[in-house]
Structure formats: structure tokens, C-alpha cells
């Protein structure tokens, strides 16, 4: 059986803007990476302004627009709130509009934000709709080096969190990273062998690998304190949680899609 192609991962987007992002690795070196940000309806994580500034496309899912309107000035206390709001204007607000405050919608609409009014749909969540919107309207020529950073996807209502994790599985060919103040999570598809480059200044050391949705009969890692060696993982049995990143590159291969999670450092 031919070896699996390698997928590399890096959280260089979390590095403060004063330090240059790590040079793109592997295939990314030829095509610069671009970012899109999606804001869901939860309190903004502390690094929201940094990621927003890095992104070329910013979409709010319904009440996520309230969070940007209220939260960005709070995260930038030294600046004039009105100027902050104009600078941190979403490109689009998408959803059924039952959470976004009317005056917030009006405000952004008058600044040119696209308002996409979708009726509630049992089959797709707000995040799902936003990802679809971004993949249909990529900020660059194509999606091959597009990373979608999602704020507010974890915590809150558990059914929302599960729906958001399911989006990672449904769009397994799209690079989507779910971020909260505490953790970063993304999918490691079984179709690839994975190299995760660890940015120690902003993430770690706590990490985990979770077979969400189906058991894994064989996973193998390097770079962790407790590496897996052809190990099986499943709910009801072993999951790799409270593991520790020990090296700058962690490698993972598995017969099943896995969710990788790593803690984010408090001063990020």
C-alpha cells in the first residue's frame, strides 16, 4: 500500500503580529496561506483582534455580529469604540437573523456588510452555512491554501458544539480550525499522515487525540509524552487526553479521522 500523503499543520496565525509568521512549510511555500475568520455567537476570545487583522475575509454567523460589535472595543480598550467598530467590520453576516440585534445589523449594513438572510434549516448549522459561503466566495484565487479560523465554536450549548465539530467532518477537505480561549481543535483526516508544527510560545503543552464518531483500531504518534503505537482508541475505552507535547513536531497517522486538540497559553 502506498504511503499516505502528508498534511502539515501550524498555528503560526496565533503568533503576535510583532513577530513574523513562521515561513510556510512544504507545499505551502509556493502559495501563501490565506485566512478567513468566522465569528459565532459566543464571547470573543482574547486573540480575536489579531486573527481578524490577519484574515482576508470575515463572516459573522447571526449573533456573532453582536459579539464583534460589543466585544472588539472591549478587547481594544485604549482605542475609540466607534473607530474600532468601523475597522472591525465583517464582510458578511449570515444566518436566520433571529439573534443579531436590529441596530447592529443596520449599522454594519450601512457600512457595506453583506447581509445574507437564511431561513432556519434542520440539516445545516450557522457554521455550516458560513463555511459554504466562504468556499463559494474564497478571498484568494482558490481554496487550496485557505484556512478558516472559527471563533466561538466551543463551550456554550453542547448541541451547537457537536454541530460545529461535525462541520469539520463534513468539510474534511477544507482546513477549518475551531478556537476558544482555552483550546484549538481541528480534524486529522485518515487519508493523510499528519505533521503538526507546535508553536510553543502560544500553545501547549496539554493536548489530545479524540476519535469522534467512530473508533480507531490503530493510531501511531511521535512527539508526545505518551505516544500511541498502533494503539486502538474509542469512547468507552482509551482516548488520548491530558497528553503532553514534547517535541516541536508531532506526527499522527490513524485508520480513523481524529480530532486533534491543544491547549492555548493564557497570554496568547
Amino acid at each position: 500500500m502506498p504511503p499516505l500523503p502528508t498534511m502539515t499543520h501550524s498555528s503560526s496565525f496565533l503568533l503576535p503580529s510583532s513577530s513574523p509568521p513562521a515561513p510556510p512549510t512544504g507545499a505551502d511555500a509556493e502559495n501563501a496561506v490565506s485566512y478567513a475568520v468566522v465569528v459565532l455567537n459566543q464571547r470573543l476570545p482574547r486573540f480575536a483582534p489579531l486573527l481578524w487583522t490577519r484574515a482576508r475575509l470575515r463572516v459573522c454567523a447571526d449573533g456573532g455580529a453582536n459579539r464583534v460589535f460589543d466585544g472588539m472595543p472591549d478587547l481594544l480598550p485604549g482605542e475609540d469604540p466607534d473607530e474600532v467598530r468601523v475597522r472591525y467590520k465583517p464582510d458578511a453576516i449570515e444566518g436566520d437573523m433571529d439573534s443579531v440585534r436590529p441596530e447592529v445589523k443596520e449599522y454594519y449594513s450601512s457600512l457595506g456588510t453583506q447581509i445574507i438572510d437564511d431561513s432556519p434549516d434542520q440539516d445545516t448549522t450557522d457554521l455550516n452555512k458560513c463555511i459554504s459561503f466562504i468556499t463559494r466566495n474564497p478571498p484568494g484565487p482558490d481554496n487550496s491554501n485557505l484556512f478558516i479560523l472559527v471563533l466561538g465554536a466551543l463551550g456554550g450549548r453542547f448541541d451547537h458544539e457537536m454541530g460545529n465539530i461535525n462541520v469539520l467532518h463534513r468539510f474534511s477537505n477544507t482546513r477549518i480550525i475551531l478556537l476558544s480561549d482555552d483550546s484549538s481543535i481541528f480534524l486529522l483526516p485518515k487519508t493523510h499522515s499528519h505533521e503538526i508544527h507546535i508553536e510553543r510560545s502560544v500553545e501547549g503543552p496539554h493536548c489530545g487525540l479524540i476519535p469522534m464518531g467512530a473508533p480507531s483500531s490503530s493510531s501511531t504518534t511521535t512527539g508526545l509524552r505518551w505516544n500511541l503505537d498502533n494503539t486502538s482508541m474509542n469512547f468507552g475505552g482509551l482516548l488520548s487526553t491530558s497528553n503532553i507535547v514534547e517535541e516541536e513536531i508531532v506526527t499522527v497517522t490513524s485508520d480513523s479521522d481524529l480530532i486533534w486538540t491543544i491547549s492555548l497559553r493564557k497570554h496568547t
Binding site: 432556519p120 453542547f158 448541541d159 461535525n166 496539554h206 479524540i210
Partner: protein, 217 residues
């Protein structure tokens, strides 16, 4: 947390959970008397509990169960084991363990806490947050979920986290499942709505049930 505490027969703090009770319970109940909220047991590897908190509860009669020698299991796992061990067989069927603080925070902790529901699938364990509760519906049983609409709902969901389901059937939901397949990567039941006083679920896979909690002032 206070109504739950007063109803419980046994109250256990997992390590730093004791700090939370010490700091926050009296704020929530406007009661300056910490002596009213003394856990029977403080259990775990003791790397989070503050020394003065441990001393206080120990002096008030809490059993301090130091399991720091066991690094294989999480603090919640240790607490559930401990509860099971201390519960007489004839009481086990009627025992329900209510867990606060299991959700949110670090995602790997959350996954490990959810795994405890699967590992101890013969026990009733409910994970609670401000926003919702989660319970396991083992595939071995047909489930009847009685909805207390004054405190919970209407948002709910059902998830095959451990393995896909080829057949799940429900009643009592706005969007019921009828012999439906559910799988991560495809359809799972999120943002569903409770439509009746009683929801029933039957499946060929273990499922997680979640329902939103109303804001109780």
C-alpha cells in the same frame, strides 16, 4: 449548584472543585457560612486544590482521598469509581450522579469527562453546565425522557459520538428520527426541539442526549 447540593446524599469535590465551592458557593447563595457546604469527600490527585482549602475541609470533617499515585485516570473517573464503591448494591439502581464543571474549558478534559459516561455506562451520570445537560443513552435500552419544561428545553440534540448509528428512532421531538442513520461526517441531530412532555429514543448505538437549561433567576 446550591439546589443540587442540598438534595444530594453525597457530595464529592474533584481536586480543584473544592476551591470552587470554597470561593463561589457562598457568593451564589448569599450565605457567608462555608460550614453549610462541606463536601463529604475531596478526591483526586490534589495538584489543583489550594492547601488552605484542603485544610479547611479536612478540619470540617471531609475525607481527603489522595489518589495522586494513580495518573492513569482523570479526577472525575476517580470520583465516579469512589461513588460506585461506596454505594450499596441495593441503592445502585436508584443512584444518579450529578456532575458540575465537566463541560467547557479545555477540550481534552471535556472529551475525557464525556468518556466517563461511556466507561461507567451502567451508572446514571448527568453532566451539567449553565447552558445544558448531557446524558448517555445506552443502546441496550429503550429510553423515555421526561421533560421538565420549567427548567429545561426546548433545544436538544442526539449524537453518536462513539460509533455511527444505522438505526435510531425517536418520538416527542420536532424533527423525529425514524429508523435513521446518524454519523459524524453526515447527519447528527443538533438544534432539535422538544415537542412533548416525553421524548423516547431507541437506537443500535450508544447516544449522547443533550438538552438546554433555562436561565433560572
Amino acid at each position: 449548584a446550591s439546589p443540587l447540593g442540598s438534595r444530594a446524599k453525597m457530595r464529592i469535590c474533584a481536586d480543584g472543585g473544592a476551591n470552587r465551592i470554597f470561593d463561589e458557593m457562598s457568593q451564589m447563595t448569599n450565605d457567608l457560612d462555608r460550614n453549610r457546604y462541606i463536601p463529604e469527600i475531596v478526591e483526586g490527585d490534589m495538584d489543583s486544590i489550594r492547601p488552605e482549602v484542603k485544610r479547611f475541609y479536612s478540619s470540617q470533617g471531609s475525607k481527603i482521598s489522595d489518589k495522586s499515585h494513580n495518573q492513569e485516570t482523570t479526577d472525575l473517573h476517580k470520583c465516579i469509581s469512589s461513588i460506585r464503591h461506596r454505594t450499596p448494591d441495593h441503592e445502585k439502581a436508584n443512584l444518579c450522579v450529578l456532575v458540575t464543571g465537566a463541560l467547557g474549558g479545555r477540550f481534552d478534559h471535556e472529551a475525557a469527562n464525556i468518556n466517563v459516561l461511556y466507561v461507567f455506562s451502567d451508572m446514571r451520570i448527568v453532566l451539567l453546565s449553565d447552558d445544558c445537560l448531557i446524558q448517555l443513552l445506552p443502546k441496550t435500552h429503550h429510553h423515555e425522557i421526561y421533560i421538565e419544561s420549567s427548567v429545561e428545553g426546548p433545544h436538544c440534540g442526539i449524537f453518536p459520538i462513539g460509533a455511527p448509528s444505522t438505526s435510531t428512532t425517536t418520538t416527542g421531538l420536532k424533527w423525529n428520527l425514524s429508523d435513521a442513520e446518524m454519523r459524524f461526517g453526515s447527519m447528527i441531530s443538533t438544534s432539535n426541539i422538544v415537542d412533548s412532555d416525553k421524548v423516547t429514543v431507541q437506537s443500535d448505538a450508544d447516544l449522547l442526549w443533550t438538552i438546554s437549561l433555562r436561565n433560572l433567576t
